[in-house]
C-alpha cells in the first residue's frame, strides 16, 4: 500500500515545474538586488561592488524627492492601516459574533467590494467623485482612498482568527458579570490579537504597494514612493532606482516574515484551540 500511495502522489515533471516557478518568481528580484551594488553609471556593465547608489538614494540629487515620497508613503500606510484595522475589527465582531441577521450577506459583499472592483475602476470612480464634490486632490484624498481598499485586507485575517475562537469565552466572562466592553477588552481581544496584527501588517503592505489608485487621486505636487519610482522609470531605469527597489524589497520581505510568524502564534496543525493555548500559557 505504501508503495502505491507514494506513487499516486508523485508526478514526473511536477517538481521541475515547482523549481521553474520559484526561479521565475525570484530571479528578477535577485538580479535587481545584485545590480544595485554595481559601481558603474551603466546599468548593463558590471563595474565592481559598491554602495554608491544607496548613498545616492539618501544623499544624491533626487534624495529630497525620495525622502518626501517615502514619508508620504509610510505616513499614509500607517494611518490607513490603523483606521482600516479598527474599522475591520469592529465589523468582524459584528459579523461573526452578532448572530444571524438579514443584512449579513449584503454586509459581507460590501466589505469585499474593494476586492471585486478592478483597481483602475476604483481609481477612476474615486477621482470623478472627488472632482464632482469639489474636494481638492492631495494627501487627504490618497488617505481616504487607501482606507477604503485596505478594509477587506485587514478584515479577512481578523475574521478568520475570530471564527476559530470558541464563543464560550465571552459568554463565560459575561456570566461572571463582565460588561460587554470588559468581555471584549480582557477576553476576546487578547485571543484575537494575532489576527488583528496580521490584518494590520497586511493593510500596511497593501497601502505601500498601491500605485494605480494613488496615481489617479494624488493631484499634482505630491508623490508616494510608487508614483515617484514610476515617474523615474518612464525616463529609463537608472542605477539609483535599483537601489531604492532593493530597499523596498527588503522592507516588504521583513514585514511578511513578521506577519507570517505572528499569525501562526498559538496555531497548531489541525486548527486553533484557544483553550489549549490558554492552558499552555498558564502552565497547566
Amino acid at each position: 500500500m505504501a508503495k502505491i500511495s507514494g506513487r499516486i502522489r508523485r508526478y514526473p515533471g511536477f517538481f521541475p515545474m515547482t523549481v521553474l516557478c520559484l526561479i521565475l518568481l525570484y530571479s528578477p528580484l535577485i538580479v535587481v538586488a545584485a545590480y544595485s551594488f554595481n559601481d558603474s553609471l551603466s546599468i548593463t556593465l558590471w563595474g565592481g561592488f559598491s554602495f554608491r547608489w544607496y548613498l545616492d538614494v539618501f544623499f544624491g540629487l533626487e534624495a529630497d524627492k525620495f525622502r518626501d515620497a517615502a514619508w508620504n508613503s509610510l505616513s499614509i500606510a500607517f494611518m490607513a492601516a490603523t483606521a482600516s484595522t479598527i474599522i475591520a475589527t469592529a465589523a468582524s465582531i459584528g459579523m461573526v459574533r452578532g448572530g444571524e441577521f438579514k443584512a449579513k450577506p449584503a454586509s459581507f459583499a460590501l466589505i469585499s467590494l474593494p476586492l471585486m472592483v478592478p483597481e483602475i475602476v476604483t481609481a477612476v470612480a474615486t477621482l470623478i467623485f472627488f472632482s464632482t464634490i469639489g474636494f481638492a486632490r492631495g494627501y487627504a484624498t490618497i488617505l481616504v482612498a487607501h482606507i477604503v481598499f485596505c478594509i477587506p485586507f485587514a478584515y479577512l485575517p481578523i475574521e478568520a482568527r475570530l471564527k476559530g475562537i470558541e464563543g464560550t469565552f465571552e459568554e463565560a466572562a459575561q456570566d461572571l458579570y463582565a460588561s460587554r466592553w470588559q468581555a471584549f477588552r480582557y477576553v476576546l481581544f487578547p485571543l484575537m490579537a494575532p489576527g488583528v496584527v496580521a490584518g494590520y501588517l497586511l493593510a500596511f503592505i497593501i497601502s505601500l504597494d498601491d500605485f494605480i489608485i494613488t496615481n489617479f487621486v494624488k493631484g499634482a505636487g505630491i508623490e508616494t514612493l510608487p508614483t515617484a519610482i514610476f515617474g523615474a522609470v518612464k525616463q529609463g531605469i537608472k542605477p539609483n532606482i535599483l537601489a531604492l527597489s532593493t530597499l523596498m524589497l527588503l522592507i516588504s520581505v521583513g514585514f511578511v516574515t513578521i506577519s507570517y510568524f505572528v499569525s501562526r502564534m498559538g496555531v497548531k496543525p489541525g486548527g486553533y484551540r484557544p483553550s489549549a493555548a490558554i492552558r499552555k500559557k498558564k502552565g497547566v
Binding site: V31, Y35, E100, V121, T126, K163, V253
Partner: protein, 307 residues
C-alpha cells in the same frame, strides 16, 4: 480535528448581537460613501458631455458609448462606420488576460500539487516561498522584470554567454512580456486555491483507481482533476479578473503596441486625450465584464451547493 466543518456555526456566540449595527456601521459608511457612491457617479459621468481638457458639461449624451462603437469622422458629421480601435483593445486585453491565466495554470497547478503532497511540516515553508514575492511592491516587481528581460539585460547577456543564442532575444515589448508580467503579478492567486483543494483531496480515491489498474495520468485526468476543479476555477477567476484591468505590466513591459484597457482608461484622465466621459464609459464596460464573470461563477457555485 477540532475546528473543522459546520461546528463553528453552532458554537459561535452572539454576545455582541445587540450592538452589531453599530459595529458594522463604520464599514457601511466608508465603503458606501467612498466606493459605491463614486461608482454611481462614474456611471452618471459616462452619460455626460465632455469638456475640453478634462471635466464634463452636465448635459446628457451617449457620445462616450457611441465613440466606443462608431467612427463618425473628425467632426462627427459623417455617416457612422464601425470603429474597431477600442473593441480591439478590449479583445486584446481579454486574450492577454486569458493567456496569462493559462500560463499561471500551467506553472501553478504542478507547483500547488507538489506543495500539497509535501509532509505537513514543510508545506507552510513552501507556501511562504511562493507567496513572499507577491508581497513585494508590484511596481518594484514589474520594474525588476523589465530590467531582467530588456534587450541588453541580464537574461540576454546570460543566454549569449552560455552560447544558447547569438543575437539578443526580443522579449520586452512583446505579448509574451505582458503575459509574463501578469503571471508575476498574480501567480499566488492561482496557487493558493488549487493548493487548498488538493490538500483536502482524499488520496484514497487515487488508490482505488490505481487498484483498478488506472495509470497515474488517467487518475490525474479522470479522478483528481474533476475533484479539485472548484479550486482550479477559483484560481483562474482570481488571476483573470485583475489581469483584465491591469495597468503596470502592460504599460511597462508591453510598450505602445500592446495597449490594454488599463492604459486606455488611464490616458483619458492623465494623458493628452482628456475625455472623462469616455474614460468613465470604458471603466464601466470593464466593470460590467468583471461583474458578468463573477456572476457566472457565483451562479455555478450556488448551483453546486444545491445539488
Amino acid at each position: 480535528m477540532a475546528g473543522i466543518g459546520g461546528r463553528s456555526g453552532e458554537s459561535s456566540s452572539s454576545a455582541f448581537a445587540p450592538i452589531r449595527a453599530w459595529l458594522i456601521l463604520p464599514t457601511w459608511l466608508i465603503i458606501g460613501f467612498f466606493l459605491v457612491v463614486p461608482v454611481g457617479t462614474m456611471l452618471v459621468y459616462s452619460f455626460l458631455t465632455k469638456e475640453f481638457r478634462g471635466g464634463v458639461i452636465w448635459e446628457f449624451s451617449l457620445a462616450a458609448y457611441d465613440r466606443f462603437i462608431f467612427d463618425r469622422g473628425l467632426f462627427g458629421d459623417e455617416p457612422p462606420k464601425l470603429e474597431l480601435t477600442y473593441i480591439t483593445i478590449f479583445a486584446r486585453s481579454t486574450i492577454q488576460a486569458a493567456a496569462a491565466t493559462l500560463l499561471c495554470l500551467i506553472i501553478g497547478f504542478p507547483t500547488a500539487f507538489y506543495i500539497a503532497t509535501r509532509p505537513v511540516s514543510t508545506r507552510a515553508i513552501w507556501l511562504f516561498l511562493v507567496t513572499v514575492p507577491y508581497w513585494v511592491n508590484l511596481l518594484v516587481r514589474t520594474v525588476s522584470m523589465k530590467f531582467l528581460i530588456r534587450e541588453s539585460g541580464p537574461l540576454n547577456s546570460f543566454l549569449q554567454w552560455t552560447g544558447a543564442i547569438s543575437e539578443p532575444l526580443q522579449i520586452i515589448n512583446t505579448d509574451f512580456a505582458v503575459q509574463l508580467g501578469l503571471f508575476y503579478s498574480y501567480l499566488p492567486f492561482m496557487v493558493l486555491p488549487i493548493y487548498a483543494s488538493v490538500e483536502r483531496y482524499d488520496f484514497a480515491l487515487s488508490e482505488a483507481a490505481a487498484d483498478l489498474y488506472a495509470t497515474r495520468w488517467t487518475i490525474l485526468r479522470k479522478v483528481l482533476l474533476p475533484t479539485v476543479k472548484p479550486g482550479i476555477i477559483a484560481g483562474c477567476i482570481l488571476v483573470f479578473v485583475p489581469s483584465l484591468g491591469a495597468f503596470l505590466a502592460p504599460d511597462l513591459l508591453g510598450g505602445a503596441k500592446n495597449f490594454m484597457i488599463g492604459s486606455l482608461i488611464e490616458e483619458q484622465f492623465k494623458g493628452n486625450a482628456g475625455n472623462w466621459p469616455f474614460g468613465a464609459a470604458a471603466a464601466m464596460i470593464l466593470l460590467s465584464m468583471v461583474l458578468v464573470v463573477l456572476m457566472i461563477y457565483a451562479r455555478r457555485q450556488s448551483g453546486r451547493s444545491r445539488e
